[in-house]
């Protein structure tokens, strides 16, 4: 059982189009539409599943395919017209068809026949009247941001290591960590601690958060870092975020030299994650560059360079 999609160029410059005598312009328009129809059909179905026909007489092109395949093509057409398709090849093919449909001199028909008995579904008016067909941008479905979590550490371990903060009343959070990290974190068991984590937030569902351990911050530095991170997450502009890191480190160094190195070291470790923006990693490398050989900075910076290089290679 096959079904089909059919496009016909009915009129050009108010005259009925006939295959036997077409103006060069009408021929170009018809060929452009047919070639794009081929592109979108083949982006969904295999070559051996589809069949193309040009009907004698009128300028009418048909693509036939098994019913199930054609339903897929139609679904993608429908999505693309709604602006919900993320398939670039399909949407750019359909956009070229749309461009021809939107020319005033031509009058096209565009029908989907689910089966040969029922009424076809007309697509030409929708396609003509909708805004320019484009692929929907696929956003990364997660947001990553730095966070400082405070809690009472009363459990650590597991096959996939993690630790828990228990806030009572059944409210507890889980922070993932590596085995090596678990080994050093267990020294803080039954203590109140502050953890610098990467928070992975599902884009659509802000309630669901996952945490990945980065570094435990000693009490005397927590206040400043917490304040900084809160303001950092409230700022949306990337450059403003980055200048705030510069300012924060400048400020920390101006207070006390030792303090500056501690804070910088925590920030280097806390932001050492491939899910951060390349510019975030780079900014920290720029700021810490004078301290390549400083004992509080050297290792943290080296590890950050590795993350940065890995990330840059994949972009």
């Amino acid at each position: 059982m096959t079904s089909k999609i059919q496009i016909s160029l009915k009129r050009a410059n108010s005259e009925t189009v006939n295959l036997k005598s077409m103006s060069p312009e009408a021929l170009d328009a018809f060929l452009a539409v047919m070639s794009s129809l081929k592109t979108i059909a083949l982006s969904v179905a295999n070559e051996d599943e589809v069949n193309f026909k040009i009907k004698e007489g009128s300028a009418l092109g048909v693509v036939e395919a098994p019913k199930s395949k054609m339903a897929l093509i139609y679904k993608e057409l429908d999505n693309a017209i709604k602006g919900e398709s993320d398939d670039k090849i399909f949407t750019s093919g359909l956009r070229r068809i749309q461009e021809q449909f939107q020319r005033d001199t031509f009058d096209f028909d565009f029908h989907y026949y689910d089966n040969l008995k029922s009424e076809p579904i007309a697509l030409h008016r929708r396609l003509k009247n909708t805004s320019r067909i484009t692929a929907k941008r696929v956003k990364s479905s997660y947001l990553y941001k730095p966070k400082i979590l405070q809690g009472y550490l009363n459990q650590i371990g597991g096959k996939d290591p993690n630790y828990h903060f228990d806030y009572g009343g059944g409210h507890k959070i889980t922070i993932d960590c590596s085995k090596e990290e678990a080994d050093s974190i267990k020294n803080y068991l039954y203590k109140d601690i502050n953890s610098f984590v990467v928070c992975k937030e599902a884009d659509k569902n802000k309630m669901k958060e996952n945490y990945l351990h980065k570094v435990i911050i000693e009490k005397e530095y927590t206040g400043d870092i917490k304040t900084f991170i809160r303001a950092y997450n409230q700022e949306n502009d990337l450059v403003n975020k980055l200048t705030s890191i510069h300012d924060f480190i400048d400020e920390s160094f101006s207070k006390k030299k030792k303090y500056g190195f501690e804070i910088l070291s925590y920030i280097l470790k806390g932001f050492n994650d491939k899910n951060y923006h390349l510019s975030e990693l780079k900014t920290l490398l720029v700021i810490s560059k004078p301290f390549i050989n400083h004992d509080k900075i050297e290792l943290a910076r080296k590890s950050l360079i590795e993350t940065y290089n890995e990330k840059k290679l994949k972009l």
Partner: protein
């Protein structure tokens, strides 16, 4: 995208970018600047001989994107420039070279200036501060490398600088050489590479600036 663009008239990119700029001050003098576009506005970030300025674009530059800065790093480059400008110490005509501290964590703004530099020296130091390795293979330039007669003398005269103070840091790298460096991606960029592009760049500049 990779052409030399006359900043004020030909730039039609909507995204943020950083580029190196070249301005023809008069027949004998040229000027270097970092050209920045942020939120669709153009800025020039440069050393005037007295101050470090980060201001809306006024001078007539030709610019080119440097291939050494990854598109995803542009935000961090701009943030670094903003920070340099913020901490520059106009009293000494001193600026940060991308490194805000000495190795002990002393803020460089509180120190006496080590060197007075030219506009090119400034741009080079900003670039140097951004990368893990040097931007240029500086050793390739020496006193004999000068090709424009009296370039440095004229620069110092017009900016009221003492030539002895500038000579070492400057190494007579010219604005034309700096712009030509944009064609190369792998740092440190060698003088021989830049030399291979200089004539072509110079021709392009002549053509660009003659279209008014």
């Amino acid at each position: 995208m990779f052409d030399i663009i006359r900043s004020k008239f030909e730039s039609d990119i909507k995204l943020d970018f950083v580029a190196l700029g070249y301005a023809q001050v008069d027949e004998n003098n040229s000027h270097s600047s970092i050209i920045i576009q942020r939120n669709k506005k153009l800025f020039e970030f440069h050393y005037t001989g007295r101050n470090v300025e980060y201001k809306s674009l006024r001078n007539d530059y030709c610019h080119k994107f440097t291939a050494t800065i990854h598109p995803d790093e542009i935000a961090s480059f701009i943030a670094m420039c903003i920070n340099i400008e913020k901490n520059a110490n106009p009293r000494y005509g001193f600026f940060y070279s991308g490194q805000s501290y000495d190795k002990d964590g002393n803020h460089l703004s509180s120190q006496e200036p080590g060197e007075v530099m030219t506009c090119v020296g400034f741009c080079l130091n900003v670039l140097k501060g951004f990368f893990e390795t040097d931007y240029l293979h500086y050793q390739d330039w020496n006193k004999s490398s000068i090709e424009i007669p009296n370039y440095l003398e004229q620069y110092c005269e017009s900016h009221n600088l003492k030539i002895e103070e500038v000579e070492n840091s400057h190494r007579r790298i010219t604005p034309l050489e700096l712009l030509s460096s944009c064609f190369f991606e792998n740092i440190p960029i060698k003088k021989s590479e830049i030399d291979s592009k200089k004539d072509e760049v110079s021709e392009i500049l002549k053509r660009k600036f003659s279209n008014n």
